[in-house]
Symmetry: C2
Subunit: 505 residues, 2 copies
C-alpha cells in the first residue's frame, strides 16, 4: 500500500462529511461576522435562530451514528493513508469526541444562551448594567459547566481541561499552571521596574488629535497591505470588539476607531492582520478538512501577537511606519519622531481594559480571568459574586480597582458567548510569539532589517513553512520544538527575555 | 374538531421541518446579499460552495421520503386544521412538488452553473464579453431546460409553465399571453403618442450635477424613512444591480449611484422599499412557514411598483419630495420645481436598459425577454444566437438596436443565475400595482392627499390588510379579486387607464 494510491472509500466518505461541516461552519462564520459588524438591531432574534439551526445541523451530522462507525473503520485501516490523511483522521476524531460528548439539546441550549447573553451584553456593557446580564450569564455558565462535566467524563480529564481542549488541542491546566505561576512571580517586580524606568525618561509627547476615522482607516489599510493583507480576498470593517473572521479567501477583519487615539485601532488592525495571514497561508490542499485548519487559539494568537507585539511595536517597524503615520494625519513636530512613537506604542500602564493593555500588564489580566473562570466552572464562584471577585483580583494582580462593571467584568465578550477556557490562549500565544520570533531572527539575520524597510517577505519565508503550512497536522508542542530547534515546547524564558530587552534594555 | 385545538402531531412535524428549511433559506439569503453587496472577489469560489452546500441540505430535507409521507398524512387529516394551517399545507406541498420533481444532482448542477455564470458575468458585462459568458450560459440554459422538462412532466404542464410556477404560484403562459398580446397591440401607438406629446411640451430642465453619492444616500434614506422603511430592521447598501434581500426583521436593500443622475438611484431605492415593506408586513404568526411568505414575484413586484411607479413618481408625492431633493443638493432655479421634477421622473424614452426604463416602454422590454426565454426553453433559439435575436427583437419592440452586448443581452442578471420564467412577473406586477392603487384610492379618498404630505399611513391602512397580511394564504387571483371588488383577477385595463391619465391626460 503506497501513499500515492487512492485512499479507501471510507476515508473519502469522511472527507466528504467534514467538507460539508466546514462549509456550513464557514457560512455560520460569515453570518456571525455580519451580526457583529453590520447587522441592524432588529435582526438579532432571527439571526440567532439561523445560527442555532446551522449549529444544530452540524451537530446532527457530527453525531450521526454512521460517522462514528466510519471513523472506527478508517482508523482500523489507517496504514493505507499518507501522513496528512492520518493527521486528518486524528483531527476528525478530536472534533467528533467534542461533539459526541454532549447531547443535542445541551448543545443547542448553550448556543441559544450564548447568543442571547451576547446580544444583551452589546447594550448592557455601555449601560454598566450587570443586573441585566447576571441571569443570562448564569444560564450560560450553567450550560458550560454541564458541557464541561460531560466532556471531562468522556475524555478522562477535568471539566476545565475539557474546555481548554476546545480552544487548543491537548492543552491542559497542568501545562498552564507552571507558566502562569512563573509569570505571576516575575511580573509584579518587573512591572514596577518598567514603570520606574519609563517614569524617569523624558515625557512622551502625545500627537495631537483628533484623528479622523477616515484617515485612520486609510493608514490602517496601507499598513495592512505592507504586512501582507490581501484586500482582493478580505475586508476591514467596524465592530464593537475587533476580531478576525471569514475564510482564507475572504478574510474579514474588524476594528473600532477612537478619534482621540489612533494607535489603539491601528495596533488592533495589525493584530488582526496577523490572525488573517495565518488563515490565508494554511495548506490549500487541505482546505475544508480538519487537518487544514489553524491549530488552535493559542497558536492563532501567537501569529497575531508576533505581528503586533514582536514586529509592529518593535523599533525597526516603527522606524518605517512613523513617517507614514505623520503623513496620514498631517502631523508635525517631535511627537511624530520614530523614537517618540516607539515609546508611545510601548508605554506601560496599569489599566482596566484587557484589549487596551500593553504586553507587560496583559498577562496579569489573563491570569485574573483564568483564575475566575476556573472558579466559576469549579462552582467556587457564583456569577452574582463576579463583580466583587473581579475587583479584588484586579487590585491583587494589576494594582487598580475598576470603578464600575463596564470596565470590569462586563468588558469582554468571551464568557457572554459561552467561551470559557479561551482566555489562557492569549498569554500562551504571547509566549509562543516570543519563541517563534526569536527563532526566526536567529535563522535569518535579514528579517529584522527588512522589516525596518517595510519588507515582510523574509519573515514569511521562515514563518509560513515553520508554522502556517502545518495547519493542524502537528501539535503545538511539536511545531514549537521544531521551529525553535531547542528541544522543548512552551517556554516563558523567551517571552521574559523579550520583555527585558524591550523595556529594561 | 375545532380550529383552536392543537393541530395533529404530523402537521406540527411538518411545521418544524419547514421552519428549518426557512432558516437555512434565510441564511443563504444573507450570504447571497453579502456576495452581491460587499464580498471581496477572492471569496467567490468558496461562497459558491457554501451556497451550493446549503442548497443541497435544503434539497435533502425536501426530498426525504418521510416528508412526502408526512404531507400525505397531514393532507388526509386536514379537517383538523384551521384555514391558515390548511393553506400552509397547500404551500408546503407546492414547494415539495418543485423540489421532488428534479434529482439532487440536477439541482446541484443548476445551482453551480448559475453561480459560476453570474460571477463571470460581473466582469464580462462591463467588458462587453459575450464570448466568455456564452459557454457558461449554455450550461445554465441546458440545466434549466432539463429542470423545466422534468417539472412539466411531474405537474402535467408545459416546461415553461413549470418555470413560471416557480416564481408565481399557479401562473401559466396562457394567463400571460392575452395580457401581453393586449399590451403589445396597445403600446406602439401609445408610445408614439406619448413621445409626440412630450416632444411638444417645453423642454425639461435637467438639474445640474454632479450629485455626490453621500448626499444621494442621505436623500434616499430620508425618503425611505418617509415611505416607512424601518432602519432598525434594515440597511441600504451598494451593489452592481439594485435588489431587496434579507428577512422581515433585517431587510437588506441595495442600490447603485450615478453622480450625473440622482433620480435613477433614488427611484431604485423607493422601488426596493416597496419590496421590503411587503416583507416586513407579512403575517408574523406564520414567520418561517410557507404560508407566511410573500406570495410570488408578480405580487412582490406589484408592491415595489405600487410604491415607485404609482405613488412616488406621481405628482402628489413629487410635490412633497421635490423641495427635499432641492435641499439635498443645494439646488436652485426652476429645475427643482415640482412640475419639472415630475416631468423628469415621468419622461418617456426609447432606451436600451430595462432597469433604467420608464413604465411606458418597460413592458416592451419584458415582452422581448419573455419571447426570447420561451424560445430558449423550447429549443428554438440557441444561446449563441442570443445577441442577434436580442437586437432584432429590440428593433421590433422598442424601436432601437443595442450597439453592443453590454447594453444588450448581457444587461440582466436573471438568466445568468438560472432564473428563467421570472421576467414576465415584472409586467404582471405593474398591472397588479395599477389595479391595487386604483382600488385603494377608490376605497379611501384620503390616501393620495396624505401622500402629498409625505404621510403613507392611510395607504398602508388599506394595503396591509388587503395584500401584505395575506402572505401566501390566498392566490394572486383571489387577492386581486377581493381587493378590487371587481370580480376579476388580472386586468390590464387599470394599467392602461393609469398610463393614459398620467401621460396623455
Amino acid at each position: 500500500m503506497t501513499c500515492s494510491s487512492r485512499p479507501p472509500e471510507v476515508y473519502q466518505d469522511l472527507e466528504r462529511r467534514f467538507r460539508r461541516l466546514a462549509l456550513i461552519g464557514d457560512a455560520s462564520g460569515f453570518l456571525a461576522w455580519d451580526r457583529a459588524a453590520i447587522m441592524p438591531k432588529g435582526g438579532a432574534e432571527s439571526r440567532a435562530e439561523q445560527l442555532t439551526e446551522l449549529g444544530l445541523i452540524r451537530h446532527e451530522i457530527m453525531t450521526d451514528a454512521t460517522l462514528g462507525e466510519a471513523l472506527d473503520a478508517a482508523e482500523a485501516g489507517n496504514d493505507a493513508l499518507d501522513p496528512w490523511q492520518r493527521a486528518n483522521l486524528v483531527a476528525m476524531r478530536r472534533k467528533w469526541r467534542h461533539a459526541n460528548a454532549v447531547p443535542a439539546a445541551l448543545h443547542e441550549a448553550l448556543s441559544r444562551a450564548g447568543l442571547a447573553c451576547e446580544m444583551a451584553w452589546r447594550e448592557a456593557r455601555p449601560d454598566n448594567d450587570f443586573a441585566t446580564i447576571r441571569p443570562l450569564l448564569e444560564t450560560v455558565i450553567e450550560r458550560v459547566r454541564e458541557t464541561a462535566s460531560l466532556k471531562g467524563e468522556a475524555f478522562g480529564c477535568t471539566p476545565y481541561d475539557a474546555l481548554l481542549d476546545q480552544f487548543e488541542p491537548g492543552l491542559r491546566a497542568a501545562d498552564i499552571d507552571p507558566v502562569f505561576d512563573d509569570l505571576a512571580a516575575f511580573l509584579p517586580d518587573f512591572i514596577d521596574d518598567v514603570l520606574i524606568r519609563q517614569g524617569q525618561a523624558p515625557a512622551i509627547i502625545e500627537p495631537t488629535g483628533p484623528f479622523p476615522e477616515a484617515r485612520q482607516r486609510t493608514l490602517g489599510e496601507g499598513l495592512m497591505k505592507r504586512v501582507g493583507f490581501p484586500f482582493d480576498s478580505g475586508r476591514l470593517d467596524v465592530s464593537h470588539h475587533p476580531f478576525s473572521g471569514g475564510t482564507p479567501d475572504d478574510l474579514r477583519i474588524t476594528t473600532r476607531y477612537d478619534e482621540a487615539d489612533f494607535t489603539s485601532s491601528l495596533m488592533a488592525v495589525l493584530h488582526e492582520t496577523g490572525h488573517a495571514l495565518y488563515e490565508c497561508n494554511l495548506p490549500a490542499a487541505y482546505r475544508h478538512q480538519p487537518v487544514g485548519e489553524a491549530l488552535g487559539m493559542a497558536m492563532h494568537e501567537s501569529q497575531s501577537l508576533l505581528i503586533e507585539m514582536q514586529v509592529c511595536r518593535g523599533r525597526a517597524f516603527i522606524g518605517f511606519a512613523a513617517p507614514l503615520m505623520r503623513a496620514a494625519f498631517d502631523g508635525a513636530g517631535p511627537a511624530w519622531d520614530a523614537d517618540n512613537i516607539h515609546r508611545l506604542t510601548t508605554r506601560v500602564r496599569r489599566g482596566l481594559i484587557r484589549v487596551d493593555s500593553d504586553e507587560v500588564t496583559y498577562p496579569a489580566h489573563i491570569i485574573l480571568r483564568t483564575r475566575l473562570e476556573r472558579a466559576l466552572i469549579a462552582g467556587d464562584l457564583a456569577v452574582a459574586d463576579l463583580p466583587g471577585a473581579w475587583a479584588e483580583a484586579m487590585a491583587d494582580l494589576v494594582g487598580i480597582v475598576p470603578p464600575d462593571d463596564r470596565d470590569g467584568c462586563l468588558q469582554d465578550i468571551h464568557w457572554m458567548d459561552g467561551a470559557v477556557g479561551y482566555f489562557p490562549t492569549y498569554t500562551l500565544g504571547a509566549i509562543m510569539a516570543a519563541q517563534l520570533y526569536q527563532a526566526a531572527r536567529a535563522a535569518d539575520a535579514e528579517i529584522e532589517p527588512a522589516i525596518g524597510r517595510g519588507d515582510f517577505a523574509p519573515l514569511y519565508r521562515w514563518l509560513i513553512p515553520h508554522v502556517h503550512a502545518h495547519g493542524s497536522s502537528l501539535g503545538g508542542e511539536t511545531i514549537l520544538t521544531r521551529a525553535t530547534g531547542r528541544g522543548l515546547g512552551l517556554d516563558p524564558d523567551a517571552f521574559k527575555a523579550h520583555l527585558k530587552t524591550r523595556y529594561l534594555g
